[in-house]
Subunit: 223 residues, 2 copies
Amino acid sequence: MSARSCWKWPGTGALAEALTLHEDPRSGNCYKIKLTAALLGLPLATRVYDITRGETRTPEFLATVNANGRIPVLQIGEASGARFLPESNAACWYLAHGSALIPAERFEQADMLRWMFFEQYNHEPNVATLRFWLHFVGEANLSAEQRAQMMPKRIAGCAALRLMDSHLAANPFFCGEAATLADIALFAYTHVAEEGGFALRDYPHILSWIARVRALPGFIPMI
Amino acid sequence: MSARSCWKWPGTGALAEALTLHEDPRSGNCYKIKLTAALLGLPLATRVYDITRGETRTPEFLATVNANGRIPVLQIGEASGARFLPESNAACWYLAHGSALIPAERFEQADMLRWMFFEQYNHEPNVATLRFWLHFVGEANLSAEQRAQMMPKRIAGCAALRLMDSHLAANPFFCGEAATLADIALFAYTHVAEEGGFALRDYPHILSWIARVRALPGFIPMI
């Protein structure tokens, strides 16, 4: 039993029901949820799918786990009483409810969500999609439509990283002095952005922040 | 003084500081915040920008209001003490903090955020972008890159609307019996989706839900 596995962030609420993550370990969106559970000391079982083989588009998956055909999905409880929560950042919110990973103060809480919505709108569709295309699909296998999207996504991804770097020049974490879900959400695809062709050496404050996130008690790596 | 202007949703916290919305009235993302404030009975001043003229990309705007060069931004307070909150759904969260527009129960709260993240990831980039291109930019003025994106966005937008319609077949509002921020977030661009070329008659449960949202006490129209 390491010191890390005994750590719990202050205020973590006990959960009576079993937690299961429907995931693909290559997905940063799935990693967010595992990292949140690890930081909070919450046990989390996993069920693995291969998204490149369409395993989240089967009739059974669509009918029971997520009609949107996507992972991650956090399953709370088991059998007929199970509830399913899609959307990575919503699942992190569920796990961290009442803990120090979510600021209690009204503005700070909204400001944390601001970075999490930024992540899903400005960061993930660019940084994560280019990583998926280049690192997993392979450039030679991209469609003409995907090729046409590479440069706009490169530009938008660099803009997102530049904005993050500028913010982190003045703040150790996205919402100030302590790590929150905003850091977990943005860390997931940023720390592997080089797999999508982004040069992280261009963003020195992001590199320092990555080291700070890696040093959090309870941290687990992506793979 | 109409009955509507006296209505307040239960639990709306008093706000000591002045609220100002930096907005473009054609934007559904801005409308979300105005609708939330109206339902809560919160006074909200507005400052209008024309996004098609680059008025949110000026050095002054980037330095003081939002380094991301986007609206809406909710300004809380005035002069040197002002704080700025970008991202429409985060601004709605700030306004509705503690009110009945945000469920207090752990799963329900996360499930509401699930629909709000879905809105920003699966709905807005497709339904809102096609509306902006077709209704405001004009099809004749689109770049080749934008034209190439029209069909993928049409397909993804229809998938988002179909998922919403299916969910609303069994639920009067997105999180059950009562309206929440999830309804406000998804209403903004859905009720004007025909301006983006989407046929709402194909989604009968969405049409019924639009009528229910319009009937909420305190409701204000977009324009």
